[in-house]
Symmetry: C2
Subunit: 338 residues, 2 copies
């Protein structure tokens, strides 16, 4: 039998996760069950959402202690007991921090091999990241030409695409929020923003948002929560839409307090939480969105960056980088060659 | 010349408004300007929203000091310089705390004289109150048969109609929140609720909501804000809609903190502020909504109560009753006979 390794959750993090919260466990690679596909994991993607699985109160029932940590992976099909996939196929979907993992075929998607694109695009612009930006901006916020858009986490994976897609949509003004001058510069130079607020340099983030968007916000793509979201709520235009994608500023802390929800009433605005899982479950809609994104890539309208670390052992330390901000692009761990 | 009296705002309330914040000023009744209609005010309606005009940060630019306080009135047309209204017509719309007031015709609506209905119905079920409940429940929250509905302020004017309209819509379970056993009893006996949570008797309002709706909330009609809204956010079902009508619990206090906005992401739910003014500006849609409400009245499906106080002098003290909860129905002041 081939041996397999998994990173399992040893204890529930309090605040920031630590390396000691995780441990490697070994077992034998098991056969896929009926309807499943066995993958060799090539890449694991480090998502802030993974933090949400580690404690109660997150997206779903918390991950059992001792179980492999869940997350998006890209892999090659080794064996299949499901229709629709063949040995050798490259697929992406919701797997785990494992060298080999069996996944229900219903959760898997074929990785498109576009000319000139790295495989890892399926864990970014042509995967959940691109779909999240597209769904939030067009599906949830219904951005229209000429609107004023605020994007928090503007140099992050999702935010960087949201800014560029707002540009594609014809937004009249796109303001980013990011942490530090380098990220802000990148948000403007590469990610579609007209200007970018460095939240680390602003004592009053709300005032900075008001100064950057004196006519207010039509659409906010919110990845961060906390002061960024509260500042957005204080500067809404009539009928504004906030696509609430994530609230990473609070994932490791006590619940965040919002003080400006009244702005929703005054401006008849809406704060709309969403999850890309709703799109993953709708293959027809997902395919149409991916096709549109692929068209933008082909037209040279989208840039994205991955920050790849190497080796199965590096997974937890790479995950922790998410919360320190010490990365320049979507964090991926490459476990094996193609 | 006929003399006129107005209640004007003398100073901006800090916290709860006080009688000394208001003062009577006299002048002569003036002629309506072009496009305006001069009314003799028969009823003035006491709305929580009026509190919002008194300070900065409310619905609009704050009321100037020394100016008559604005609010909904019902009146009889004395003179008109606008098409569409004739002397003697009964109309309702946005006027002021005055004995006579000239109002742009575009802001006025003819009061329907339905058989057996008191005039004051136009300041309640057949006016902004009925429209607010209808718009929030059907237009904003899009309630569907079989859904689980939470209504805060369930014995208040808007809430009492929202509960009954949820019943008409075929909601499977309707839970109210109100203050005190009498209001709770009325919410159940008269206003469509299956049961009603007495927030004054609950140390943990969120837990009480969870106990009353163990399967969670599909639709929340939110009039109160504060702990009621935060409790609702903690018990959302997937794709829940919160129609955010008002946040009266905070109108006289510091901004309210919401801690559970994360529930919007987890449940892909939306928090949607709205204002009935959008409906008042759309006469076609408004007429259709009023016709539907009139049909429900004719079918005996809606109850409503007014709590009428008498005399122009009584306006400010009646307004203050809104915030003490010491009233049993929509608070109106009757200024003059028909």
């Amino acid at each position: 039998m081939t041996r397999n390794r998994h990173w399992v959750l040893l204890r529930r993090p309090e605040g920031l996760p630590q390396l000691a919260d995780f441990e490697i466990r070994e077992d034998d690679v098991s056969e896929p069950a009926e309807g499943e596909v066995l993958l060799r994991v090539l890449y694991a993607a480090m998502d802030p959402a993974i933090r949400g699985f580690m404690n109660a109160g997150g997206y779903a029932a918390p991950l059992p202690l001792g179980a492999p940590v869940k997350g998006m992976v890209l892999g090659r099909v080794l064996r299949t007991k499901a229709r629709g996939f063949a040995t050798g196929d490259l697929v992406w979907g919701f797997g785990s921090w494992s060298e080999y993992v069996s996944v229900p075929a219903a959760q898997l998607h074929r990785a498109p091999i576009e000319a000139g694109l790295d495989l890892s695009a399926s864990l970014h612009v042509l995967g959940t990241i691109g779909l999240t930006a597209h769904y939030g901006l067009f599906g949830i916020a219904a951005v229209k030409p000429g609107e004023r858009v605020l994007v928090s986490g503007a140099a992050g994976a999702v935010g960087s695409l949201a800014g560029q897609m707002a540009r594609i949509a014809g937004a009249s003004r796109i303001i980013g929020i990011a942490g530090g001058p380098e990220k802000c510069a990148r948000a403007v130079a590469e990610y579609g923003c007209d200007s970018c607020i460095d939240y680390k340099a602003e004592a009053d983030l709300s005032a900075a948002i008001g100064a950057a968007l004196p006519e207010g916000i039509d659409v906010c793509f919110e990845n961060v929560g906390g002061a960024a979201l509260d500042g957005a709520l204080a500067h809404l235009r009539k009928d504004a839409r906030i696509a609430l994608c994530g609230m990473i500023s609070g994932y490791n802390a006590e619940a965040q307090s919002l003080k400006n929800a009244w702005g929703l009433v005054v401006n008849t605005a809406r704060l709309h939480g969403f999850r890309v899982t709703d799109i993953l479950a709708d293959r027809v809609r997902m395919s149409a969105m991916l096709a549109e994104i692929a068209g933008w890539i082909a037209a040279g309208k989208l840039r994205w960056h991955v920050d790849v670390r190497y080796g199965f052992e590096a997974i937890p330390e790479t995950f922790l980088c998410l919360f320190s901000g010490a990365h320049t692009g979507r964090l991926l761990v490459r476990l094996a060659g193609d």
